[in-house]
């Protein structure tokens, strides 16, 4: 191993793969990142402190022809030959020198045993080094070779592998999948049965179970084109935008209250939520969707007032974060807001965690503090807060609307009406009662005047005074560097900005265009990976919001790039990507376990079957209500806050009683809906790349005792014909299949038992208990 490694991470991944017969992708990247950590924690500091004096570019005279300040040089060794073979510490010259068995290094005295052990462990792990330790000319401090990490390299225009014999492959996705299986003893699964497939397709696209006609159509042998027609139907359904919009809201840390210290209502946040639903439904080009959210207010004005309003509403993305409204150090408050905006934006759009660079150069990715403050300058030049009062308030913008003028006139009329009434009262003979009336009416008048006309407003940012920020040393706003850093974008990630940012605006629009440049290597890859994750339960890259050097590597790099290129080439049409995935044979496979495949690839890394997935919190609630015929499918609109005021959220949870889809229930930071909390959606204050799926007894308690489940089941029971006793419609309506003979016996036995246990006036009915039990069954919450 004398040659410099082009991709050390990849190599180590392979090594671990061979050595340990465990093939979980996650585990491998963790192994190499463990090695990287040792490097950063022990190896690099020891090299700098004890070795560089004689073995680096800084050495006055280089000793032994050996340099240790870059990976290729370190691996090449010096006059005495190579220092070690990665993975094989036993024969290492380096270790024997450190142990002072052969050479005695460092000459001034042996290093502590713990440090030598760290060298040994690091070599065992394959001696990984970060990008910053790559090139010979590299300085020791700063990661400089971004191009070495796969995600920073340009997206490749990859040709799909050629078709092998057989007819399994339906589109290029399948060719990539098949190609990766080759030679591994793996083969794809048969397609799922139509009834299973329609249920999967329905939950995956619209987040609801299929309708009765859709399900019925699967019972007669479907026409070959049937499935394609279903895809188009689901992609066109208005519920598509709700289901996929909700996923975006996780990324955008959407909520209807501020959370943290002062849990103020975000009375106008819902407009952003609805904008997202609309955008996904109308297949708004993804580049435009992103640009609007970063800088919609800076785009050219549009005549159509609805479309113009949407551009403003979109920037709500930047203001929806939790803010310490009562923080009295207002400079800190503003910098914290900027930090939160950068964090959520970079994770969402380009899958990068940039926040670290607020306090120091990013340890693993090529983001320097300069890069951070260049970007921070853009947001510091943007106004997110309307004021910095004791409890501060965010900016809201009045939306263009043809009715605004009318509303203003109505407001003025109502003011003058009240003024007249008060004048009238004042002319009447004075009495205690009269005085009291005047007082109360004047109070109302003042409140009305303060409130202003009820014009539609959105949480939205506006441009502030452009300014460049200096580096805040260790992130401390009270300790700033001397020179302001010109506003800009991360310098190590291509493409470079076409020119300097304008002096007269914040630069948000230019930043937005940089994110969505066809040549940006991250944006398209990150988004197609998110869509893939929505259909298979995991992404081609296992860390959907971390494409940096510490994130996962793509399991199918060619496929990822091909999909990303398809996105860009289709003018950023997301539905095009959805359609490609849904129509592939890969997606259509059955999810049944196949032990002979699982032995080779237990984690289904190669997609030899579909993955069984549990419904999300929203999916569970919505489908309970849907199968029990309780769900209200009205779309969009204001959130029902129990107490519609601009300050504290004071609801008592009644607003969670609404029968509308879950996306329209308020998201209350700090006191979320218990159903959401129970089923793994508990944190609405931060970007959420992927919900964890846990299986805990609290969920079972919910299914057994929550009024939501029991009320829905009993309401459905009450609608059924009590005399019929036919279980078929029940099983078809809830589990999408007919009951088997032994299930019929089981269900009859349960109903019989319940009947014998219940008092005559009980609110529980035998069939209600049966419905509840079917809802609580595994089959109901898993999608196969």
């Amino acid at each position: 191993m004398k040659r410099p490694l082009r991709n050390p991470l990849g190599l180590i991944t392979c090594l671990v793969h061979w050595l340990v017969a465990v093939s979980a992708a996650e585990f491998e990247t963790r192994e190499s990142s463990a090695g990287l950590e040792i490097f950063e924690k022990s190896i690099r500091p020891a090299l700098i402190e004890h070795c560089f004096e004689c073995h680096s570019a800084q050495a006055k005279s280089l000793k032994g022809g050996l340099r240790l300040d870059a990976r290729d040089l370190l691996l090449a060794g010096g006059d005495s030959g190579p220092l070690f073979d990665a993975g094989d510490p036993d024969s290492s010259l380096l270790l024997s020198a450190l142990r002072q068995e052969t050479l005695e290094m460092p000459p001034r005295g042996k290093l502590p045993d713990a440090t030598i052990d760290a060298f040994q462990e690091w070599i065992e792990l394959g001696a990984p080094t970060p990008a910053s330790f790559q090139a010979s000319e590299a300085s020791v401090s700063m990661p400089s070779s971004a191009e070495r990490h796969w995600a920073f390299r340009p997206i490749l225009r990859v040709n799909p592998p050629r078709a092998e014999s057989g007819h399994w492959a339906r589109n290029p996705i399948d060719l990539f999948i098949l190609h990766a299986m080759k030679g591994k003893g793996l083969s794809p699964s048969a397609p799922a049965k139509p009834a299973t497939l329609i249920r999967r397709l329905s939950f995956d696209t619209i987040g609801l179970p299929p309708s009765e006609p859709q399900f019925e159509a699967t019972r007669i042998a479907p026409h070959p084109a049937w499935y394609e027609g279903q895809i188009e139907g689901f992609l066109a359904a208005p519920q598509f935008g709700e289901h996929w919009g909700r996923k975006w809201l996780d990324l955008a840390r959407y909520a209807d209250t501020n959370g943290v210290d002062e849990n103020y209502n975000f009375l106008n946040a819902w407009r952003y939520r609805d904008y997202v639903v609309r955008a996904f439904n109308r297949d708004k080009p993804f580049d435009q969707f992103l640009i609007e959210q970063i800088a919609g207010d800076l785009l050219p004005k549009i005549e159509d007032s609805h479309r113009q309003a949407d551009q403003i509403i979109a920037t709500g993305f930047l203001t929806l974060g939790p803010k310490m409204l009562a923080e009295q150090d207002k400079d800190k408050l503003l910098m914290d807001i900027v930090d939160e905006q950068i964090d959520v934006l970079c994770k969402t759009a380009i899958g990068m965690t940039i926040g670290c660079a607020r306090c120091h150069d990013h340890k693993f990715d090529p983001i320097s503090s300069e890069d951070y403050y260049a970007m921070a300058g853009i947001f510091a030049s943007t106004r997110t807060m309307a004021n910095t009062n004791h409890v501060s308030f965010w900016t809201e913008t009045v939306l263009p609307n043809p009715r605004n003028l009318t509303l203003i006139k109505l407001h003025e009329a109502s003011l003058s009406e009240r003024e007249t009434a008060i004048d009238q009262l004042k002319r009447e003979p004075s009495s205690e009662e009269n005085k009291e009336k005047i007082r109360s009416q004047e109070k109302e008048l003042k409140a009305l005047r303060d409130r202003g006309p009820d014009l539609p407003k959105a949480m939205a940012v506006i441009d502030g005074i452009p300014r460049d920020l200096a580096i805040h040393i260790r992130g401390n706003h009270l300790n700033q560097g001397a020179t302001p850093i010109p506003r800009g974008v991360p310098s190590q990630i291509s493409p470079p900005l076409p020119g300097a940012l304008p002096a007269r605006s914040s630069g948000r629009l230019e930043l937005a265009r940089w994110f969505t440049d066809d040549d940006n290597p991250l944006t398209a890859r990150v988004m197609v990976n998110r869509i893939w994750q929505g259909y298979f339960g995991k992404g081609l890259v296992s860390t959907p919001s971390n494409f940096g050097t510490r994130g996962g590597e793509p399991s199918h790099p060619g496929l990822l790039d091909w999909l990303a290129m398809e996105l860009v080439d289709s003018d950023w049409s997301l539905k095009h990507i959805h359609r490609l995935i849904l129509s592939s044979s890969t997606y259509r496979q059955a999810s049944q376990p196949r032990p002979e495949m699982a032995r080779i690839d237990p984690d289904n890394r190669y997609y030899w079957k579909q993955n069984r997935r549990r419904l999300s919190a929203e999916g569970i609630r919505d489908s309970i209500l849907q199968v029990c015929r309780q769900l209200d499918l009205r779309m969009e609109g204001r959130v029902d806050h129990a107490n519609r005021n601009e300050t504290y959220y004071r609801g008592n949870g009644e607003e969670f009683q609404s029968p509308r889809r879950s996306i329209y229930l308020p998201v209350i930071r700090g006191r979320g809906y218990d159903l959401f909390n129970t089923f793994d959606y508990s944190e609405s204050g931060a970007h959420l790349a992927q919900r964890t799926v846990t299986t805990v007894p609290h969920q079972a308690l919910f299914m057994l005792n929550a009024p939501l489940v029991i009320d829905a089941a009993e309401a459905m029971a009450a609608q059924l014909d009590p005399g019929s006793g036919d279980l078929t419609p029940l099983y078809r309506g809830i589990l999408f299949r007919n009951p088997s003979p032994d299930e019929r016996r089981l269900a009859a036995a349960l109903q019989q038992q319940v009947k014998s246990f219940t008092e005559p006036d009980s609110k529980r009915s035998p069939v209600g208990v049966l419905i509840q039990s079917l809802i609580a069954s595994n089959e109901f919450v898993y999608v196969d």
Binding site: D261, M324, A326, D329, T694, P697, H698, L701, L746
Partner: protein, 462 residues
């Protein structure tokens, strides 16, 4: 590193192992299993305490009127503060204001306690006071988040969630982290949430601030119209119903784990209501905690329930009491608030001791900040995150100690300063956890409760 890997692998499986183990053996095997995220785990270091009871005084009790006696403040009342006030203040304050209460020394340790805590004063030889705690956030919300999660800037897991993540629960039929009557404002569930840790580590909440514990139950622990017999029938049905597709398509671990979680839920249902039934305690015990007395009833119930939960193996229990925020009306309201907790706390300490539980339980008392020695109005004090007092008792704590000092007036922590990160590091240390290695990988890096700071306050340890 490697242990943290395998921990995470186990966590990813969540209740999987738990499920399969339950099939074969039941409780004993379950306890031995390491695959459940809540399975008990041996502490990596020597543990001096097995669990925590945190008595949280919401609003910011005044250290100057309770435990941090300042003779100069008394002498120089009405005069201006002879040094600068902090750059950022929550509100404007005036000149120095003496405490309306007199102080006395108690016990062999000679600890100073004001008239506000006559009963607790009899217990001072069991306590270690730390008088130099300091944070940075001068508003309630930020300060609550800081003491509960270590961060008033970012969404982070709470102390109790970290402890649950690190140690699991001793009793698989109960949650590992329970919070009683917490405030839902000022950070709300974030103060006892799991953030990016697996959600199982968030606290199970019983009630909220201002509710009487008398009528409270765990959420979804029962349904009034569904009898035990019905549920038993349902569970039998579910077991068979869930087994059907298994026969058809082979086992999948999450499938059987979910089936088994229903059995576990059923056991929780049968245990928890009895645990919440405080009337089953002998009269003398109830009176010891102040039950039956209107003033002390509610916090007494919290403390008594905390002891019962501790006894049953819950890892982290938080009781909350408020609202100690006397910008005005200090004299009246601090006296009322102290009288509500004085006896219950004394009852808790003596009861834990009598049962031999105090040695293995860490009891913590404190608020989100202290208050200013300077007056707000005539009878009030402003928020003061720059100095406040907490006390600790029980497992591993050097009893009868006062550690750290504030300046002559109690505005700033001055000697042996203890940052909130240090307090967190110390709590973890007492439980056998190293705050530097108790990490969780999230968004590409390892997070810890103490971020990049924290040192264990060894002088307060045995």
């Amino acid at each position: 590193m490697l242990t943290s890997h395998s921990r995470r692998q186990a966590l990813k499986l969540t209740a999987l192992g738990l499920g399969s183990v339950l099939c074969h053996g039941g409780r004993e095997t379950l306890l031995a299993s390491n695959a459940s995220p809540l399975a008990p785990r041996p502490a990596p270091m020597k543990a001096r305490a097995k669990r925590v009871i945190f008595l949280f005084m919401h609003g910011g009790p005044s250290h100057l009127d309770t435990f941090d006696y300042k003779p100069r403040l008394e002498r120089e009342t009405g005069q201006p503060l002879p040094f600068a006030k902090p750059r950022v203040q929550f509100a404007k304050t005036g000149n120095l204001l003496r405490s309306p209460w007199s102080f006395r020394q108690y016990g062999d340790s000679g600890a100073w306690v004001s008239e506000l805590f006559p009963r607790l004063a009899t217990q001072v030889d069991r306590l270690a006071f730390v008088k130099s705690i300091h944070g940075s956030n001068e508003a309630h919300g930020g300060a609550l988040l800081k003491i509960h999660t270590g961060s008033d800037t970012f969404v982070r897991p709470s102390l109790g969630a970290w402890v649950s993540y690190g140690l699991g629960t001793e009793n698989p039929d109960l949650p590992s982290f329970i919070t009683i009557n917490p405030s839902l404002g000022h950070g709300g569930v974030q103060n006892f949430g799991a953030a990016f840790l697996p959600p199982i580590h968030q606290a199970t909440r019983i009630g909220k601030r201002g509710q009487s514990l008398r009528d409270l139950q765990f959420t979804h622990i029962a349904h009034p119209e569904t009898s035990d017999a019905i549920q038993r029938a349902q569970l039998d049905f579910l077991r068979q119903q869930n087994a059907r597709p298994l026969r058809r398509s082979g086992d999948s671990p999450e499938w059987s784990a979910r089936s088994d979680s229903f059995e576990l839920a059923y056991r929780m249902q049968s245990i928890i209501p009895g645990l919440m039934d405080l009337e089953s305690e002998p009269k003398a015990t109830r009176e010891r905690y102040g039950l039956g007395n209107e003033t002390t009833e509610n916090f007494g119930r919290q403390c008594l329930l905390a002891r019962r939960l501790a006894e049953s193996g819950v890892r982290f229990i938080q009781c909350s009491h408020g609202y100690w925020d006397q910008h005005s009306n200090l004299k009246k309201q601090h006296a009322e608030l102290a009288s509500q907790v004085d006896q219950p706390i004394c009852g808790l300490l003596t009861d834990l001791h009598a049962r031999g539980l105090l040695d293995e339980t860490l009891v913590i008392w404190g608020g989100e900040f202290g208050r200013t020695p300077t007056a707000q109005g005539k009878d009030g004090r402003d928020h003061n995150p720059h100095a406040f007092t907490w006390w600790f008792a029980g497992g591993g704590i050097k009893a009868g100690l006062s550690y750290g000092q504030t300046d002559d007036y109690g505005y700033y922590a001055a000697h042996d300063k203890a940052h909130i990160h240090d307090v967190h590091a110390t709590i973890l240390h007492l439980l056998g956890l190293d705050h530097e290695t108790l990490t969780y990988r999230h968004a590409g890096r390892d997070f810890r409760l103490t971020d990049v700071s924290g040192k264990v306050l060894t002088p307060i340890l045995v």
